[in-house]
Every structure is written in C-alpha cells, then in structure tokens.
C-alpha cells in the first residue's frame, strides 16, 4: 500500500507540475575540469593508475563502500589492474592470489552446517563492509554508503563528479548551519536555502554524510607517486571507471576495427551501386 501511495503521489506530482508553483531548486557547483587517459574513443586505461586506484579503494573506500558486482578475479582479467599476459586465467594470477589472502568470506561448513568464515578465493565477490543495509546505516549515522560498482556510470559526467566530490570539501561559509554528522560539499546536489542565514546568495551544493577522506598521503603508493589529495582522487576514479565497465578498452579496440571494416565495405557497396545503376537514367 505504501508503494502504491508513493507511486500515485509521484504521478500526480508529475501531472500537476504545470500548475504547481516554482519549487525550490537544487544547486551544484560546476564540476572540476580534469581528464584521464581512458577518455574518448582512443583513450585507454593506464594500468599503473588502476593499480594505485585499487589501492585507494582497498585502503580507504572499502571500509564503508561495497562493490557488489566485482570479484577478485576481475582484478587479474584482461584490461584489469593486475592483468599479466602470462596468466590468461585470472584465477592463477599471483597478484590476485596474494590480494585474496587478506579476506575471509562467510560460508557454511559442509560437515557441521555451522556458519563459518573461510579464506577467499579469486572467484569470490569483493567482501562487503557490512552484512546488510541496516548495519551499514547504523554505522554511518543513518546514511547508506552507495555501492561503487557502477557509481561512475550512475552519475551525470561520473568521473568528474566523483573527483569533484572527493576533492571538493571545504569549510562551510559563515552563516551556514551544518547538521550533525553532515559535511558541506559544493559539488553535492542540494538546496541550502533553509540552512543559510548568512549574507548574500545561498551557496551552491549540499550536505554529504561522508567526511573528507583523501587527506594527503592517506595511502602510500608502491610506485613512488606522490599521494596528494588530487592524485588519490584521480587514481580511484580511474579504478572505479574501469570497474563500471571492465570491457571498455576491448569495446573501443573492436570498435576501431569494425569502423575501418565498415568504411571499406560501404565504399565497395557504393561502387557496386554506381556500376549497377550506370545505364539507368533516374
């Protein structure tokens, strides 16, 4: 019944938009202009950046954010952060095997039927930080940390959006009431009207339940790259973009070949068309 009421309310809301007074508008600061190696038809993921990005996810994000669509084997598959041509089967990849040693996954003991934890294998899905949504909310002041598997695709201009959020934290301007357990971020969509008592225009942005995470040197990169806030954000966004579409490089590679083939084929068909029609006046 709850769902029905909500659904009906939503539709009546839509249909009556025409007559409704102007509602409060959500605002968001223009996203930061950053670029990655994976962008555009010729862009490809930078494997070292993916490795650094996985490290940021593993050391920082994974404390609260799940990635339910990812398995450890994915890290070693073609195009992945730890892919090695010597190990076409990602389950044999030594990096992947090392990574899974850190994890234990819930299972059932087949002799006793007891709930146990066993060592993870490359075939296992990423271990979740919380057993269920209630536990996740209880640990995060009622907010649910979103699953990150598709976060880059699930947001408008995903890479720049996530980067801007991660690096965009700032002290709230004087005159802003920030609710307990919330943080001001100009890149978070929101409406500050009711929380603004300062002079001048209402600031852009909204409140986010996640505090600033990527302090400088929050992770230590194995390849010696300096772990500034910006670098960590850039790297983790690259990793998340890869995780959102692990076959993106393969898609573009095949696409290039297909386009070349189609251009030639189209030319051949055009020549055939001209030849066959050459004696027809039309």
């Amino acid at each position: 019944m709850m769902r029905k009421a909500l659904a009906i309310a939503a539709v009546f809301g839509l249909a009556s938009f025409a007559a409704a007074p102007a509602s409060a508008e959500t605002t968001q600061a223009p996203l930061k202009d950053v670029h990655w190696a994976f962008e555009g038809p010729f862009g490809r993921f930078d494997q070292e950046q993916l490795q650094r990005g996985y490290k940021v996810y593993h050391d920082v994000c994974s404390a609260c954010h799940s990635m339910n669509l990812m398995s450890y084997r994915n890290l070693g598959q073609k195009g992945g952060p730890f892919y090695d041509p010597k190990y076409p089967n990602a389950n044999d990849n030594p990096y992947v095997k090392t990574i899974v040693k850190d994890f234990k996954v819930p299972d059932i003991d087949q002799d006793t039927g007891d709930a146990i934890k066993r060592p993870a294998t490359p075939a296992d899905a990423f271990v979740k930080p919380f057993p269920n949504e209630y536990a996740a909310r209880a640990s995060n002041g009622g907010a649910l940390p979103p699953d990150l598997s598709l976060i880059i695709k699930a947001r408008e201009d995903g890479p720049r959006y996530v980067y801007s959020i991660l690096t965009g934290y700032m002290a709230p301007p004087t005159g802003m009431t920030v609710p307990v357990g919330k943080y001001y971020n100009p890149y978070m969509q929101g409406d500050m009207t009711s929380n603004w008592h300062g002079a001048g225009k209402v600031p852009e942005g909204g409140f986010i339940a996640m505090p600033f995470q990527l302090t400088p040197n929050r992770v230590t990169y194995d390849d010696g790259v300096g772990a500034t806030t910006e670098q960590q954000a850039k790297d983790v966004v690259a990793f998340l973009a890869w995780a959102a579409e692990p076959h993106a490089d393969e898609r573009k590679d095949l696409g290039l070949a297909v386009m070349i083939y189609l251009l030639i084929f189209t030319g051949v068909l055009y020549a055939s068309y001209r030849t066959i029609w050459r004696n027809i006046e039309h």
């Binding site: 019944m1 769902r3 029905k4 909500l6 659904a7 009906i8 939503a10 539709v11 009546f12 839509l14 249909a15 009556s16 938009f17 025409a18 007559a19 409704a20 102007a22 509602s23 959500t26 038809p41 339910n68 669509l69 994915n74 598997s149 598709l150 695709k153 699930a154 947001r155 408008e156 995903g158 959102a244 579409e245 692990p246 076959h247 393969e250 898609r251 573009k252 095949l254 696409g255 290039l256 297909v258 386009m259 189609l262 251009l263 084929f265 189209t266 068909l269 055009y270 055939s272 068309y273 066959i276 029609w277 027809i280 006046e281 039309h282």
Partner: protein
C-alpha cells in the same frame, strides 16, 4: 504478390515444387518486383527498418538466454551479461542502442511517407499497417526499457502505467491488471518480459502484411505520379538491393559509432542505479523517442486531458489519408503545405526539447517573466503548448490547404519529369 509472374521453372525439381509450394516463384517475384526507378535515399529506410527488426530479434533472443526476469536479479543479470558473458557487452549494447536506431529510422520513414503523400489512395491500408507497427514498437520499446530494472525503468513504468489509470471508469482496473498487483513489482516485470519477447514477432507479422500491402499498388515515388509502364520501373534486384544495401551500410556506421564509442549516450545515468520504490529520481524522463509525446502529456493542466491529447497525437495518423484533401500526392509540387509540414517537424523537435526538461525551468535566458494563466510564460510548460500547437496545426492544414492550394504542374510520368516553362525545380535532391 500481385501482377503476372515472370518466373519460369527451369529444372525438374523446380517444376515439381512449383505445382506444390511455389515458394521459389514467390521469392523470384519479390526480387523482380517492378520498382519506380526514381526512388531517392529517403526510400531506403524500409530496408533499414527490416534490418533493425532482425537485429533486435537476434540480439534479443541471445540476451533472453542470460537475462533473469526477477525484481531481485534482473539488474545484476544485465550487468552479468555485460561483464561475464562472452561479447555480452556487445550484444547488450547493440540491443539497447538498436532501439534508438530503430526509432530514428521509423521517424524518417514516417516523415517520408507524409512528405510524398505515400498514405494516399490506393495506399491507405499500407499506411495504417505502418501506424500499427509504430504503436507495437512503442509498446515493445517501453516494456524493454523496464527490463533492466534500474531507477528509470521502474519509475518510467510507474508513470506510464499510471497514465492509463487516469482513464475514467476502466482505468484503475486496467492498471491493476497490467501491474499484476497494486504497484509496479515483480509480477509487472515478468509479464513485461513475456510481452517484450512476444510483440516483436507480432511486429514481424504485421511487417509481412505491410510489405504485402506495398506490393499490391507498388511503391509510391518522389513525384507521386503513378507508374505508367515498364519504362518507369526497374526490377527490385539488383537495383534496389544494392542501393538499400549501401544505405544500410551507412546506417550501420552510425549505429556502430554509438555501440562502440558512446554506448550510454542515449540512455540515462539513473538507470545504472537499481530500482528503488522509495526513492524517486528527479527528473523522470522517458527515452528520447517518447519525449515529444511526454511533453504533450505535461502541457495540459488536466491529467486526463493530457492523456487524451497524447493519444490523439498518434491516433490522428490513422485518419491521415482521409484528412488530406489534395489531389496531388507529393509535396514536391505543393509549396504551400510544405511550409506547414516543416513547421510540424519543427514542432516535433520543440516538443522533444521540452520533454527532456523540467516543466518549471526556463527555456530562454532571463528567468521568470511573470505568470500567464497558470504558468510562467518563460517555462517549458508554455513552450510545450507552443510545440503542441505547431504539431497539431498540420492536420487541419492538410484538410484546408488541399482545398485552396494550386499545386505546381506535375510531370506526365516518372520517365518524363521535365517541368513546363516557369515551374520551379524540385526542392530536394534526387538520389
């Protein structure tokens, strides 16, 4: 299908088969079908649409092998297809973008039919079958968009099914019947999947009738003048197989550029979040090919009125052959109605633009200019109303302009399209 057959069985087995199931004769007659020799590239979209239907059915059958129609599993099963099934990302990408390509082609095909008067006698049944195919396509595409069970899938389904619920007396009962319950939920997803698999084959059947109805009077052509004799036509094969083939190849180039380089360009990011009945995405927008109708729906303050206007926008197409009073078919020789036609196309584009935006937002810079009747004059509400006016004006115009317009002289026949002195040349290039 029509006219005398020119097929001569040459071998014993062909003669044997010809007296039992003349399927070779049928195919030979299709290939030899006399087709006007002056068809331009706008006529290649029939072949392109056939290609689209086949592509959607083939990729769809493969997707159905991996897809799970369950509210709990549907979203992840699509991701499983894109991540773990061999070339699943390609098959799913073709299918999802194929819907958009299909609609792009069908809109061009329909506008071509209107411009050249292809719906006029003796092709009324051919046209009506086409409108039925279009309606079936809309139903199929809508249900297909629900299957990934993302936020936009779920809320699109909720909005559209509730539209039907606004019909008086029977509406709520129909909605409950469509839902299989009291909200969009697992039973809705299951029946939508079933129907999404069924309807393409219904479309294929009606396409068969559409082609049959085409082969009785034969093709219209850019002059709109009837075929007078053999000198006006060429056999379909090889002349139009090669021309349609070339056009299909160009179309596939565009198709592939989306599939390989911008696979999400025509969809909405919200559909990468699993359906959640407790969180409404803002705004809820349909796929681009439904935007003009969505704008008409929202342009009317009364909900039922909006629904009726939206249905009228499509329903009016059924009676197009009888609204148009002109004797001349092709708009090439009807300069006056041509203006109304281009205003109509412009109206469709304006409506599409409005459908993609929030009704209260301001389409023009400068912000609010004050309320007029019930909404800000500088709002998408009023722009939608203007768009709807530009859309609907075309139909009374067809009726009235046909009565008062003096058409340009039409050629004697397809083979002698030489215009008399003083007449203007044709406005569009011949292909």
């Amino acid at each position: 299908m029509s006219g005398p057959s020119t097929y001569e069985p040459k071998t014993g087995i062909e003669r044997w088969l010809d007296t039992r199931l003349p399927i070779i004769r049928f195919s030979a007659d299709l290939l030899d079908f006399p087709t006007p020799k002056n068809l331009n590239y706008w006529w290649t979209f029939g072949g392109i649409l056939t290609f689209c239907l086949v592509v959607q059915i083939v990729t769809g059958v493969v997707l159905a092998m991996h897809y799970v129609a369950s509210a709990d599993l549907a979203f992840n099963s699509i991701e499983h297809i894109k991540r773990d099934v061999n070339y699943g990302w390609l098959i799913q990408g073709i299918h999802a973008n194929g819907a958009s390509m299909f609609f792009m082609a069908v809109y061009i095909h329909m506008l071509r039919g209107i411009y050249y008067g292809s719906y006029k006698a003796p092709r009324e049944v051919l046209w009506i079958l086409g409108v039925i195919i279009y309606l079936l396509m809309m139903a199929t595409a809508f249900m297909g968009y629900v299957l990934p069970w993302g936020q936009m899938s779920f809320w699109g389904a909720t909005v559209i099914t509730n539209i039907i619920g606004s019909l008086p007396v029977i509406g709520p009962a129909i909605t409950t019947w469509l839902w299989g319950g009291f909200a969009v939920d697992n039973p809705t997803l299951n029946r939508f999947f079933s129907l999404h698999y069924l309807l393409p084959f219904v479309i294929a059947g009606v396409v068969g009738l559409h082609i049959w109805a085409l082969h009785v009077p034969g093709n219209n052509n850019p002059t709109g003048v009837n075929v007078k004799g053999k000198e006006d036509t060429v056999p379909f094969h090889p002349y139009y197989t090669v021309k349609d083939g070339f056009a299909v190849a160009l179309f596939v180039l565009l198709f592939a550029s989306f599939v390989f380089f911008n696979p999400d360009g025509l969809s909405h990011p919200a559909n990468y979040t699993p359906a959640n009945p407790l969180v409404t995405p803002n705004p809820i927008v349909p796929e681009w090919y439904f935007l003009p109708f969505y704008a008409i729906l929202r342009a009317v303050p009364n909900k039922l009125g909006g629904v009726l206007m939206m249905f009228a926008a499509i329903g009016v197409l059924f009676v197009l052959p009888w609204i148009d009073t002109a004797k001349v078919r092709s708009m090439r020789y009807r300069p006056m109605i041509r203006l109304f036609f281009f205003v109509f196309i412009f109206g469709c584009l304006v409506l599409g633009f409005c459908g993609a935006n929030e009704p209260d937002a301001h389409p023009f810079p400068g912000g609010s200019v004050g309320t007029f009747v019930d909404a800000d004059l500088n709002s998408f509400v009023w722009l939608s109303r203007l768009g709807a006016l530009l859309y609907f004006q075309f139909f009374p115009a067809l009726l009235l302009v046909g009565l008062i317009e003096t058409p340009l002289p039409t050629p004697e026949s397809i083979s002698s399209p030489v215009l008399p002195q003083g007449a203007t040349a044709s406005p569009e290039k011949k292909g």
